[in-house]
Symmetry: C2
Subunit: 494 residues, 2 copies
């Protein structure tokens, strides 16, 4: 397996192929019989569950509650918010019938034409419309506000070109939908939630992100403002990893959601929505992994420590395994998730390669000599280094090492991003960097969609965001030479 792996996984040769191989060989996901829909396999789903648990707690800690809204949306709902339907809802799965029947010719089942729906139903691509149609009945007065709901759900967007986790027809996500009495409160919520996403990306996934505002042309359909977190992958392309939208009163107006304010006057409700998806799995995989396989940050690793015995014969196996079980119990007491792999039908080299492939942060190996000497061998997945250490104080050492690995993975990604972020002042330089180096490019832009469009058409790079913390700086647009007050972030992207 170790050999087989090396043969097919080499990110310098073909990054895209490396990614796809890695997702499949590490047992994270695979394509299904349904075009564009993936199967998330147990190991991949275990990572997603850890992400969900962490995010869910962060949402609850910031006052949100979960709810569940219908999978289907009546077709007519999409037309109610004009820019939403224009920008969005075209590539959707459409339910037209509600019954199958036996084929009279005996060839299995066919759609029953007598069971046609009066109005077609769309499988939700996002739920603003159905949720705001629901909120209409929940909101009468300012006392009913704010509403701070989140939903964990599956959504469907009929993508033509799909890639596991990064772009699939069906994907899993959470979508927050909040309703507020004032514009200020909704704006604050929009900012708060992009902050939660940035916190999660950096402190759980170990992925540094740039927080910024989308340009007009990249904004969510129906939003007045879209905030985003942008991460950089190892091939120098950006990945949009989460968005938070200030929706103004657009959906409230479309669905006629008004409330009586403290003065007793009717006003439309202010809205936000925000979401992250299984796309984060793609970001996690691409940000840290190497040619040996996944590199998982300890906080999201389903198995944090794997313990492997080295032995000759059953007696040694029993002795070593007994001691490993002791160690495992002590690790568990500290909240560390462990696995002992005492399979006797595969070689230990195979096991080492397998857990490297799966990105287990720490490997503890013990042989008869270790047993005698009171030592173990510890191997780190992130640095691929090994050392022999005393069994004394091992649990605390492992706990510290997990923190160290978590921090190192982030630092490494941050250093990479810094190296791969280039300030340019001319279009020539822009194109040169994009072609030969890639990564994030900070350049001045005149703020017009025409310039943005030209750059996109000529270079395939887009404005990822206007960073919120960009310092004011006088400059000239690299295309038009018109004055600009701050640099914006360009990159090719997923």
């Amino acid at each position: 397996m170790a050999k087989e792996l090396k043969e097919v996984i080499n990110k310098e040769e073909n990054y895209s192929q490396w990614y796809n191989n890695l997702v499949i060989k590490a047992g994270l996901a695979e394509n299904s019989a349904v075009r564009g829909c993936m199967v998330i396999k147990p190991y991949g789903y275990a990572i997603w569950e850890k992400m969900q648990a962490a995010l869910d707690k962060m949402f609850k800690d910031t006052g949100h509650v979960n709810a569940y809204f219908p999978l289907f949306i009546p077709k007519s709902f999409f037309s109610k918010e004009a820019s939403h339907v224009d920008g969005f809802a075209k590539e959707c799965a459409v339910v037209t019938h509600y019954r199958l029947k036996n084929d009279p010719d005996g060839n299995g089942v066919i759609v029953d034409d007598d069971a046609r729906l009066e109005e077609e139903l769309i499988v939700r691509p996002t739920s603003e419309t159905i949720i705001w149609n629901t909120y209409k009945n929940w909101i009468q007065s300012y006392r009913d506000l704010p509403i701070l709901c989140n939903q964990w759900a599956n959504v469907v967007r009929w993508e033509m070109r799909t890639r596991l986790f990064l772009r699939t027809a069906e994907f899993l996500w959470q979508e927050g939908h909040t309703a507020h009495a004032t514009k200020e409160e909704a704006l604050e919520e929009t900012r708060k939630m992009i902050g939660v996403y940035a916190d999660f990306a950096e402190n759980w996934m170990g992925v540094p992100v740039i927080i910024g505002r989308k340009s007009d042309s990249e904004r969510f359909a129906g939003a007045e403002d879209t905030l985003t977190i942008e991460a950089l992958m190892q091939d120098g392309k950006a990945l949009q990893s989460g968005t938070s939208h200030f929706l103004g009163q657009n959906f409230a107006k479309a669905f006629d959601v008004q409330f009586a304010n403290k003065e007793g006057k009717l006003d439309y409700v202010w809205a936000t929505s925000w979401g992250v998806s299984t796309r984060l799995m793609g970001a996690l995989i691409m940000a840290h992994s190497d040619n040996n396989g996944l590199v998982l940050p300890p906080k999201l690793a389903p198995i944090q420590v794997v313990l492997i015995p080295i032995y000759k014969g059953e007696k040694e196996l029993a002795e070593v395994t007994a001691k490993l079980k002791d160690i495992a119990e002590n690790l568990k007491k500290l909240g560390i998730s462990v696995k002992i792999d005492d399979r006797d039908n595969v070689r230990s080299g195979f096991k080492f390669a397998e857990y490297e492939l799966k990105g287990v942060p720490i490997r503890i190996v013990m042989g008869p000599r270790d047993l005698h000497n009171g030592t173990v061998e510890i191997a780190r997945r992130d640095t691929l280094t090994k050392e022999s250490v005393s069994q004394e104080g091992l649990p605390e050492r492992i706990l510290n090492l997990l923190d160290e690995i978590q921090a190192n993975i982030f630092e490494k990604a941050l250093k990479f991003r810094e190296e791969m972020t280039t300030k340019v002042d001319t279009y020539e330089e822009f194109k040169e960097v994009l072609e030969n180096k890639g990564g994030f490019i900070l350049a001045h832009w005149d703020g017009t969609p025409e310039t943005e469009e030209r750059i996109k058409n000529e270079t395939k790079a887009t404005i990822r965001c206007i960073p919120l913390d960009a310092p004011e700086e006088d400059g000239k647009c690299i295309i038009s030479g018109k004055p600009s007050k701050r640099r914006v972030l360009f990159a090719k992207s997923y």
Copy 2:
């Protein structure tokens, strides 16, 4: 509100109306704009989340892992397992197109006829077919077995007559799908999981259940054996609350899933599937609630203890609330979920009624006199009793009381079921009990579908199950008079 509630909720007058009102007024769920699909509101979803967490832990403790399979199933898959398609898959949501377009007449969006799918996709009503099509690629040898996967998902069955939680077009559930090398192992898994469900129903939901086998006619389409847990609601009707199916080699044969056994010979894989759904919410609500509202078992209550200050003026409010906060902190330290309701715009009587409606197990009330005396008033939701107790040792007292309430709710439901379970030996008696008393009826049956069908047609009662622990007992079928070896369980059901 207290008055308004009493006016509309009276289960003796109209049980069905009482149930629906309760679900809506307690903020658990409501109907949506999409026929048959419900919105699960935050309070209802919070209960469901507690159910999910407990079940998920039980599944993992028994060796299962989670995964995720596609929402859509190609139509042709349904025809592959003959009895599955016959018994099942007709009332389904059918996706025929994948794109909308702007109506050239300017009336919003219409379905794009150029975007018709080559093969229609069915929104999963259950996932045996797509999962077994996937397992085919996961299984080559006995070393790949067992596969013990569970999925938390939404499913759609196009029900014509729907009721919140009990029968909805879309519902949430979990579906376990396991693959085994031997028949014995699959049978053991089938039994183990119905045991897990019974454990959950009784020890978490406080709902006593009868474990039994479904008759041939009530078996899951595609199964060789279906085990069920049957609960009794307060109106004397049964609710099937969870099922576990032994699928034999039916799906393995339909999808050609073979494995090399230890002897190197090819054999078909043995299968089980098992599931519980948001229907459990219906069971939970109907089993315990009264005319004041919900009665929730403490283990599933989102708020276990509500603390309410009684006061005149702001100074008293501040003093009492400060003390309540102390108490709340001490309760939280014991893992108890608490809420302090110090709203000053509603009367305390309104609050009492609201938390009774929401089924909060314990209410702690404190006024200035309590503050002075070092006491609080404790009210139990299950018995509607109150007592004044010392603040000394309060957290431990509350912890014990929560256990006592959990036990009492179960005992009460068990006593009710025992009173409402009747052994009958003649068809006359059967009909008389069914009409005047309801509940579970234990009667002898000759084992034929003809007898079962006649009883169902004439009385609307069905065989809920053949209880696994039914003692052997010689008797005669109440219809045919033919010999029978054990009584089976009849009831009208949801």
